[in-house]
């Protein structure tokens, strides 16, 4: 176990993890630059660009804390750099722990337990790195084809109307499904989801009536906070 963790926390692991996180950060900055530059040509004001950035940043605080808290549970058997590497790019703590346990089972060991050595760690690195690569390969290879397909559909007024409906319906459906999966888990999630939804509607209506833009930027954060306070009494 000790030798396995020494390898998991070795300097090469740290170097690769830092490089990957560095690339992700670079990409975000590059895309923000590109989008802000293009925003002028599409008729967006500087104020709108700032508002979009601020809102995205605020909205990410709650989910990020939730992600990180779950991710910490991986450190015990993956070590810090590998956890950082896997959580910093596509993949989530629950699914990575599934992959890690498959890899240690295949090696005839248990996660962080009996027979957990350098080779098991290596098997885990193979599984998690190749597993996460599926999304990356598909995105790198086929985003352009998806783009061309959409551009074809988007030609003409009717196509644009249809794409607008599809995009809106798709995102509503995505969240309808996500929230339903939580609702069937019990009373506490139902209370929290309903209060979060109600807070969102109230704060949106208020911000529209009184023209307060900060309220719109904080509406997701506020909804999460207020609904969790209520949820606290139901657990």
């Amino acid at each position: 176990m000790q030798q396995a963790m020494d390898l998991a926390n070795s300097s090469m692991m740290w170097i690769v993890a830092s490089l990957v996180i560095g690339i992700v950060i670079f990409q975000s900055i590059k895309f923000i630059q590109l989008a802000s530059k293009t925003s002028i040509d599409v008729g967006m004001s500087k104020k709108e660009v700032r508002s979009a950035l601020k809102t995205g940043a605020i909205a990410a605080i709650g989910p990020s804390i939730a992600i990180v808290i779950v991710a910490i549970s991986l450190i015990a058997f993956l070590g810090n750099p590998l956890t950082l590497l896997r959580i910093g790019v596509i993949g989530s703590a629950p699914i990575e722990s599934v992959g890690a346990s498959f890899a240690s089972e295949a090696s005839g060991a248990s996660l962080g337990g009996e027979g957990y050595n350098e080779m098991v760690i290596t098997a885990i690195v193979w599984t998690l790195c190749l597993g996460g690569m599926g999304w990356l390969l598909f995105t790198a290879l086929f985003t352009k084809s998806l783009d061309n397909m959409e551009k074809k559909i988007n030609k003409g007024k009717k196509g644009k109307q249809i794409m607008g409906v599809v995009a809106t319906a798709a995102i509503v459906a995505a969240f309808g499904n996500l929230v339903s999966a939580e609702l069937i888990k019990g009373l506490a999630p139902i209370v929290v989801a309903v209060i979060a939804g109600a807070t969102m509607i109230i704060s949106t209506k208020l911000s529209e009536r009184f023209q307060v833009s900060w309220l719109r930027e904080w509406s997701l954060g506020l909804s999460i906070l207020i609904s969790l306070c209520f949820g606290y009494f139901f657990i």
């Binding site: 992700v24 450190i75 699914i95 959409e150 249809i162 309808g176 929230v179 657990i235």
Partner: protein
């Protein structure tokens, strides 16, 4: 209704500026493809280098049978999602949003809510040029915030986890329903009918024993189909659609 309004505005704006913004958007997409692919391929290369180095640089190779067995089991769980997620989120995220989201991860719980919140704040419709740029700005900022929170906490890792008060831990499972409930409501304000349809289908699907990736897909396909029929019906009633 909203989709029609948007396209009306598009039609009304002078041809010159439409052409300009089309050109700018094409140039933007070309750059997004370049930088998106470059960054993603670099991460792919690093993800290959690390296990190869452990196996053959340091000599801890566990054997191909072990790796293939583990990978086959893992792929059995997630392989469908590799294809489904990028395809089904593409109309929402657009080119640049797809590149950022699928590199930084946490699409459902972080990228989509951030994109939606940003579009909501500036009043941009998903599926339009402004919508795509706004989503990209929102997700980009979200990704940066995510790393700013992630890195120090993982570094401090074990210390933090032992210091969270026990009575607060019960709240963590409630964070997801809070995010999802709020974001659904945010869209239901604009299109209450879509929200009702999605929720009914979502609940029905989640009570079945379908695998997770099929649940999401069938909910999206069914909801989109019903909403399209609904708009078609409305359009017919108002005589809005030509060639109908």
């Amino acid at each position: 209704m909203n989709a029609e309004k948007v396209s009306d505005i598009d039609m009304k704006s002078s041809k010159q500026s439409t052409n300009n913004s089309d050109l700018a958007m094409d140039a933007y997409h070309a750059k997004a493809h370049f930088w998106g692919r470059l960054t993603i391929w670099s991460v792919i290369a690093l993800s290959l280098f690390l296990p190869l180095y452990l196996s053959f640089g340091l000599g801890y190779h566990p054997g191909w049978t072990v790796i293939l067995n583990a990978l086959a089991a893992y792929a059995g769980v997630i392989a469908v999602v590799w294809v489904l997620e990028p395809v089904m989120y593409f109309p929402i995220l657009g080119v640049s949003g797809t590149y950022i989201s699928f590199l930084t991860g946490n699409i459902g719980n972080m990228c989509l809510p951030s994109a939606a919140a940003a579009q909501h704040a500036v009043g941009a419709e998903p599926g339009t040029k402004k919508g795509e740029l706004t989503a990209t700005l929102g997700i980009g900022a979200a990704s940066l915030v995510n790393k700013v929170i992630l890195v120090p906490i993982i570094l401090a890792g074990s210390f933090v986890i032992s210091n969270i008060p026990e009575h607060l831990e019960g709240i963590f499972p409630l964070i997801l329903p809070a995010i999802f409930g709020a974001v659904l409501a945010q869209f239901a304000i604009k299109k209450p009918i879509y929200g009702v349809i999605a929720l009914i289908i979502g609940l029905a699907i989640n009570l079945t024993a379908l695998p997770i990736y099929l649940k999401s897909l069938s909910c999206i396909v069914l909801t989109v189909f019903i909403c399209l029929q609904l708009e078609k019906y409305k359009g017919k009633k108002q005589g809005g659609y030509e060639n109908e």
